[in-house]
């Protein structure tokens, strides 16, 4: 009798299997259900938009859902590696999920392109992490951009509100390090859970310590409540957000109360303000248009990170094809070597310059300072 709603919820985890005539096989693991589904759903949706061929070979994508559960991620990876014999894997969505599968990817010699936030999956570089690549801006890079703006506007003290999860943890760490180096003091660090119904206490604690500015580090729409709470409590200092807030729902949920927020994120939010000379603009415009056509909503940047992983693979598959055939360990090893040699590759999120030491390869070109003005994202001038 419970079969019906169950079947409905299982539908969500349904596999997106593309015709089997393909020669290069790419596995995709996302968390399109469970607690971090807001990250995983745009990623799963982006799979259908990924490049269909490279170097004369068609590409087959095999998408699996890990329900945000690190154990399920391991199972999905093992299935993709041993049964499907994939040449590379894009995913998973979450940092804890990614940390758990690094060894499996390395043992089998399968390159893995993880669209996760924390730099911990590629730094410090170890033997297993050689197989891991990361298609998002490192938190530290985004933090530096925000700190630079804080220094410029004379901010001396900052209050921190972050989620009590790896996202908030890592942000507190990199931000405190970066800010202290520039003489900015983090006066209070408060934590909260995504599902908390009230952040009054955290807000009061931060307001009571009278910081010049507040940084909120939370993924997705959980970044809204701390800010509206601070607004309601009469705090009128500058509020900074991380790239976790960079999605349409932030504006919708926050309304007038998030006017003037400053965040650093990819150019995707402010495409209209970006000059046409920017190499990422056309790619991003095309991606957003294709996504909107297919799903009726604008994609969150999480989806674009998966899309960039696809672009990166598309650029290295022809190189790897010169040395080996798809489906062989040699081909996977060639892919890995070729990925380390990616230079000046334009993606929707910025420009990639990878090296054996840097498996993320972003520089400040991929980041823009963005503010909220009149209920819209605007480039901060």
């Amino acid at each position: 009798m419970i079969a019906k709603p169950l079947a409905l919820s299982l539908l969500l985890g349904a596999l997106a299997v593309v015709p089997a005539a393909a020669q290069v096989k790419i596995g995709v693991v996302t968390s399109s259900s469970g607690p971090i589904a807001l990250v995983g759903i745009p990623q799963k949706n982006s799979v259908a938009l990924l490049p269909k061929s490279a170097g004369g070979q068609s590409i087959e994508y095999i998408a699996l859902d890990d329900a945000s559960d690190p154990t399920a991620t391991v199972t999905a990876f093992k299935k993709l590696i041993s049964e499907e014999k994939v040449d590379a894997i894009i995913g998973p969505s979450g940092t804890p999920n990614a940390m758990g599968v690094i060894n499996f990817a390395a043992e089998s010699g399968t390159p893995m392109l993880a669209p996760v936030g924390s730099a911990a999956i590629i730094l410090p570089m170890t033997e297993p992490k050689k197989w891991v690549f990361k298609t998002t801006q490192n938190d530290g890079l985004v933090a530096d951009k925000l700190i630079e703006h804080m220094v410029k506007t004379g901010i001396k003290t900052v209050g921190f509100i972050g989620t009590a999860d790896p996202y908030g943890d890592n942000w507190l760490k990199v931000f405190t390090e970066g800010a202290t180096a520039k003489g900015i003091k983090v006066v209070t660090a408060e934590r909260f859970q995504r599902q908390d119904t009230s952040l009054t206490a955290q807000g009061l604690k931060v307001t009571a310590s009278r910081p010049d500015a507040v940084l909120i580090a939370a993924p997705g729409s959980s970044s809204v409540l701390p800010e509206t709470t601070l607004f309601d409590q009469g705090y009128r200092g500058k509020i900074y957000q991380t790239h976790g807030a960079a999605l349409p729902d932030f504006l919708k949920l926050g309304g007038k109360k998030v006017e003037g927020t400053i965040l650093a994120a990819s150019l995707m939010l402010v495409l209209d303000d970006i000059p046409d000379t920017n190499v990422s603009k056309k790619l991003a415009v095309d991606y957003v248009a294709a996504y909107e056509k297919a799903y009726g909503t604008k994609p969150a940047t999480f989806g674009a990170n998966v899309y960039d992983a696809g672009l990166m693979l598309q650029s290295v598959i022809p190189v790897a094809l010169k040395t080996a055939k798809p489906g062989t360990p040699e081909f996977r090893a060639a892919l890995r070597t070729a990925l380390e040699g990616v230079k000046e590759l334009a993606g929707t999120q910025g420009v990639y310059n990878l090296s054996p030491e840097d498996h993320s390869g972003f520089d400040q070109r991929g980041l823009e300072l963005i503010t909220v003005s009149g209920g819209q994202w605007k480039l901060l001038k």
Binding site: M1, I2, K4, P5, L6, L8, S9, L10, L11, L12, S33, P35, A37, L38, G40, I41, A164, E190, R191, F192, Q193, R194, Q195, D196, T197, S198, T200, A201, Q202, L204, K205, A208, G220, S221, S222, V224, L225, D232, Q233, L247, D249, K252, L253
Partner: protein, 345 residues
Amino acid sequence: MNMQIVMLLGQDGVTNGAVYALLALSIMLVFSVTRILLIPQGEFVAFAALTMAAMQSGRAVQLGWLVFALAVVATLMDAAKVWRSKGREPWPHGTLGLLAVAALALVLTKVLPLDRIGMFAQALLTIALVVPLGPLLYRVFFQAIAAAHSLVLLIVSIAVHVALVGTGLLMFGPEGGKTEPFSDAFFEIGPAMIASQTLWVIAATLALMGGLWVFFGKTLYGRALQATAVNRLGAELVGISPDLAGRASFTLAAAIGVLSGILIAPITTIYYDSGFIISLKGFVGAIIGGLTSFPVAALGALFIGQAEAFSTFWASSYKEVIVFTLLLPVLVWRSLAHTRVEDEE
């Protein structure tokens, strides 16, 4: 920590505590009548809040399909029961009414311009959409096993909860929802500002509790429910249908959950899976009341709200740890205070 902060935290604690108290009451109500620990109680809250939020932001409301589908299943189950009994059993009351309400609500959500019909109409439509979910869940998942061991009921209850959360993700998406406040007014009392939404929550809670007291003390149906809670078999012998009692308690629980959802949706961002943690705190309140005493449960829930607000202020990372650890001394005290052996069944 000055007076103003104490006042603000206290206000926050009372608001949350009031909602926990309502949920504690409905969890106890359902448990005493049907022996089911209603884990999906939180889903009524989340679904109501998200339905309301979807209406206000002009998105399509999908919940009607789920309710309608459940109503169809319930009707088919009734029909199968009547058919198998070869006409000896009468056609049961209620399910066809629920089917009609579900169909009407579904049609209304599809034809009305939902974002422009005003907050009151949106709230009414939300009630019409979500409340039938209560009796339908009972009819489809619990009625056939109403006499089973309470462990079986608990397991089914958890299964229903998990299924509903999954369906919730499908219907509402992973992002949170928030609604417009009933009014933006603030009142200054001493050093603190009191948001009018807080007063709404407290007033509605008191009104609901008063209403429940009158219902159980003065009306025939209320007394029938109470009789079932006191002694199931005895109540059945004097002609109170256990099916009816089960459905009525689920309807009340759903109604209370929906009202809580509508009340807190303007204060906070609700996600498809927010309901569980809210109802868990209501459950802690109910435990403090020993799942039997309504006033103690309400006080317990208020205490949880305060403990939560103040522990968050002192150590926000350990908030949940502190709140749920508080349950331990209460359990110890209760097991010491009640030496009577609880008889299962």
